[in-house]
Symmetry: C2
Subunit: 400 residues, 2 copies
């Protein structure tokens, strides 16, 4: 059967590893507020809202979920690793959820212990949430920041995680192929994106079978689109939308991904609608050079800053230094952006198992943006390209 | 021309109101980190990432945006109300963005002034962001929490805001109509959702014209779907996905919305695929009674808790108290959930201009969930139903 999710064995290994770190640090329990961490450790994904939720991993004993009652029937359907579910009815409630959480922690014998946490407030604090910090309610407990435990674990991907990102790249590739196929003048970017994402998602679901479910709330299983990066708006790296339909001569910047047990690759391409102009060709070529330069620089032991400097040198040499708007890339996996940052300010070294986006770009206002993004795995000896969509101008020029 | 966005006049009024409050509180500037607040005050929507951004509203003088360089060309395309744009290249950078922000604030003459903020950390802290609190960098400034200023303003919707939510309801209604029309056995929920959302979005865009653009990143202009609430999974209020296709006899819980300048209504329905069983009919009827009871209770001057108690009484009387999983509803507008909470613990009173979801529900594990959600405006004398999709069982039963 296709490997489309993290095994329970691996989740158990992750939990074991957390506990080993807790013991070393003399922390009695880890109190996590970030939903993605619940998922990373137990496989339970949920919709994080203003209703506070926490996952508590004691050094030994059951893992406890504390949160709103509406998750009570959900958890056992998704994980067997949460042995203890404690709930309040809803937020804000007659008694504040944080007061419940303090009581739960007391009941677990943690009232005067050392508790590691990813958030001193005791709650993720989403939407309109308001509440006192948890340590006010447990004055004898000692809360210490321990965000780095999960963050460090997530930095180096396991074989299973790498496999899921590879699987994701297949479906991102399909979505992107359909996107390119359907791109044409006079269509709005969002309709091309909708059809490509819809078709790729259904094919993905039917191919992977009943065991496949997306984990990312509000996203398609597979998706590809432009996010407004059309024509002059392609010069805005984080354009959200464009008003007009596509027309001949537009520079287009795309993005595609696919959710495989919450993991996704990142695949982005610069396409030209119609025959590229000389100027478009020139900018495209320099962008491609910068990305090639990064690919050539990426390997274990190299500083992240070195990669960022290398792409900046290419742009500088071409006289395009002023058209840069962001660094070379970022880590990815369960979240869109994660450490490590391929940034001039990050001297951390690349290590085998890191998965990063490689996406140097240039942007000229009123003209266009030029950026490919590929997902790259750092291996023992070098790199593995996880995304594999064509990168050359000919393949990415769309006849009109 | 159709009113599909907040006027610049209203944005200016909002800014003026903020400044009046600052003067009253003897605060020299408001330093905001929440992207939705930037949008609320200036019309500039952006994709919030690990890269910190802040909007600074001094009591007088230009409004300043501080953030990553990649937004520099974006801002003037979306708003004329930000007069001063100050950027750093990228995160983390050789010099940390918070150090830049501290320098910018010094340069603005705020180094030893009283600064209100929505977040004492000085940054929203999204994804893998790390940084010191801003007050460490400006030890002579006095930072005070002032989250409540924007929150209170957003609590009461203006005529323009109400108009946009009403407009949103039209397109949610279309998306939901298509969703119901396409619902059939043997289809996966996500394919029905994809087609309905895609078609409704394109019709919406073509109807509202070139001036229409969605503001919510990663969402369709109009959308409708099931989010996994199919059959036995409909008993999970926040189910994210379902494995299997639909089949005759399934209880289905839907959700629809549409982005009109960032504002959306909330429309949810319980549908039955096939002829409802007696048990389904009974649960549906009680759910409907609870929602009717809430509609009858909602009016200005009534406590939010009173509404929540009223729906709980209906469920209790029917013997369904144990099937409740959440409170009656929440405010909405720019965000999915906002205050006021229609919750037993919230004794704040309803006021004209509040827009809330009304969605009491019951959930029986392995059987199904029953919840409609309608968007309701509190008016001077009572309420106005903003969503208007049919609520009765006959209309919501889908022949097979």
């Amino acid at each position: 059967m296709a490997k489309i999710s993290i095994s329970e064995e691996e989740l158990k290994e992750r939990i074991k590893h957390v506990r080993e770190i807790l013991v070393k640090r003399e922390i009695d329990a880890l109190y996590l507020t970030k939903g993605i961490s619940f998922f990373y450790l137990t496989g339970f994904s949920h919709i994080a809202t203003e209703r506070p939720a926490a996952l508590v991993i004691p050094v030994d004993g059951e893992i406890t979920f504390m949160g709103p009652l509406l998750e009570v029937d959900h958890i056992p359907l998704k994980t067997q690793l949460i042995g203890d579910i404690r709930t309040y009815f809803d937020y804000p409630g007659k008694k504040h959820p944080i007061d419940y959480f303090a009581d739960f922690l007391k009941d677990m014998g943690l009232a005067n212990r050392q508790i590691g946490t990813d958030n001193m407030a005791g709650a993720a604090g989403i939407w309109g949430y308001r509440g006192p910090p948890i340590n006010e309610k447990l004055p004898k407990a000692k809360f210490v920041l321990a965000r780095d435990i999960i963050e460090k674990m997530r930095l180096i991907k396991s074989e299973e995680e790498i496999g899921l990102v590879r699987e994701s790249a297949k479906w991102a590739n399909l979505a992107h192929s359909l996107l390119q196929e359907y791109t044409a003048s006079d269509l709005f970017d969002l309709e091309i994106a909708a059809v490509a994402s819809h078709e790729a998602s259904i094919i993905m679901k039917k191919t992977l079978g009943l065991n496949y479910v997306p984990q990312r709330w509000g996203r398609y299983p597979a998706s590809a689109g432009f996010r407004g990066q059309v024509g002059e708006m392609s010069a805005i790296p984080h354009s959200i939308a464009v008003q007009r339909p596509m027309k001949n001569g537009d520079v287009l910047v795309t993005g595609a991904g696919a959710d495989v047990d919450g993991y996704s690759c990142e695949l982005e391409r610069t396409m030209i609608l119609g025959k590229p102009t000389e100027k478009q060709e020139k900018y495209f070529k320099v962008m491609l050079q910068a990305q090639d330069e990064a690919f050539g620089t990426l390997k274990p032991g190299v500083k992240c800053s070195t990669v960022d400097k290398a792409t900046a040198r290419v742009f500088k040499k071409a006289g395009f230094h002023k058209l840069m708007r962001h660094h070379t890339g970022h880590g990815l996996g369960l979240e869109g952006h994660e450490p490590p940052w391929l940034d001039i300010g990050n001297d951390a070294t690349l290590k085998p198992g890191m998965i990063i986006s490689c996406e140097p770009g240039i942007y000229e206002p009123s003209f266009g943006g030029f950026r490919h993004s590929d997902t790259v795995l750092i291996t023992k000896d070098g790199t593995e390209m996880i995304t594999y969509y064509p990168r050359d101008l000919e393949s990415l020029s769309i006849p009109t």
